[in-house]
């Protein structure tokens, strides 16, 4: 007999208090938990009534509440900042009914395969804000390196300190739309005339869950656009892959490098307003 107890707190404080109990986990949209199962837990804290469903900007800082679904976040961002990389990524993840359930907080908890959040998080240098036992804000690499930090802790929002005024390109390697991406490429760029002010490139799905291509970024930052053709973007965009259903490590490494080159060129040579 399964004795899992469901709780329905209405405030962050109530939720945090409940999550302090042994073997108790938070429930956002449930897409992670349905797959992993909840039978081994003693409590599930449903966050639907906790007021964390928001998206707001203040002086260029974007904050998205943990309860905001991918569908809502993508729609809100598309309306406010068309072309923003988060809108592209969240709006293309999984499928319509799943995007209606996947929440920002749930996705940031595990960064599951079907979430397209991790690449944009890396290039936007987003932070994960928490309350509870380990209250604070965490950058992505700290967060990924220490899963234990989540114990007794509630993700309240994701913060993007520099989310706008970028030219962006996002690519997800899938055979059909709702496939889990074999890898994703996220690129942000800022230009002034023919000068590249700043480029950020991240690749997810390789041997490391997500990696910033710092050699490539350093080669491009501050360079003139005319220098791009002399750089071996593909070589600098090459990362190691493990074996996946989508292909061998060599194949994935090769096509990911091609997509890195394409996305970088697309961002740098596209004539459009920045978002």
């Amino acid at each position: 007999m399964n004795m899992v107890q469901w709780y329905f707190p209405e405030t962050v404080d109530e939720a945090v208090a409940l999550l302090g109990r042994e073997r108790t986990i938070p429930h956002g949209g449930g897409t992670n938990l349905v797959k992993s199962g909840i039978a081994s837990y003693s409590g599930v804290v449903d966050l639907a009534r906790v007021p964390l469903n928001y998206l707001k900007t203040d002086r260029g800082i974007l904050e998205i509440g943990a309860n905001q679904t991918f569908a809502s976040a993508a729609e809100n961002l598309s309306n406010l900042y068309p072309g923003c990389i988060l809108a592209s990524a969240l709006g293309s993840a999984a499928s319509t009914p799943l995007r209606n359930r996947i929440t920002m907080g749930g996705s940031a908890s595990l960064f599951p395969l079907w979430s397209d959040l991790i690449g944009p998080m890396a290039v936007l240098e987003g932070e994960i804000c928490t309350e509870g036992k380990n209250a604070g804000s965490f950058d992505l690499s700290t967060w990924l390196a220490n899963r234990a930090v989540q114990k007794g802790t509630l993700i309240t929002s994701l913060l993007f300190p520099d989310a706008f005024d970028w030219i962006s390109a996002y690519y997800r390697e899938v055979r059909v739309g709702f496939d889990y991406p074999a890898f994703t490429v996220s690129v942000l760029a800022r230009k002034k005339g023919s000068r590249i002010e700043r480029v950020r490139v991240a690749l997810s799905g390789g041997a490391d869950r997500v990696v910033r291509l710092t050699d490539l970024e350093e080669a491009l930052n501050g360079a003139d656009l005319s220098k791009v053709s002399s750089l071996d973007l593909r070589k600098m965009g090459t990362v190691r892959f493990g074996r996946k259903p989508a292909g061998s490590p060599e194949f994935l490494s090769e096509i990911a490098a091609v997509q890195v080159e394409r996305c970088v060129k697309s961002a740098l040579f596209r004539e459009e307003e920045t978002r």
Binding site: V34, T96, P97, G177
Partner: protein
Amino acid sequence: MKGTFFINGRKEEWSFAPDAVLLDVLRENGRTEVHRGCGEGACGSCAVVLDGTLVNSCQVFAASAQEKEILTVAGLGSIHSPHPLQAAFVETGAVQCGFCTPAMILAAYCLLKKTPNPTDDEIRRALDGNSCRCTGYVKIIEAVRLAARRMSSHD
């Protein structure tokens, strides 16, 4: 555990296990118009409208759907008084085995509520979580277009 659900406008009190998914609870209580397909959120056959948004009921814990409005295809129309989408699916031949049809219609219903005159791209995108293995999608998209035209002309 016990919970209250509002199914097609009707209040229901059902018992269910704490880890039961909404799909199982609906079917165990006679709502067999909600179809069980892959059970992984990939095929979309089990889709229902939960508080106005399309969800895969196999990916939703029943406990989290308590006190919420749930619409199944049976709540849209009946054989004697079909919803324009249901009529359009029949008229355009968008139904073969019919297994995916209830969820397809609900996905289209959610689309048309929000976007009464969708483009073909918007239709494809709205149905991106629903798989059909019989007719292909040409007739289904045609049915959504037809229903959109009819529903708009009635506005």
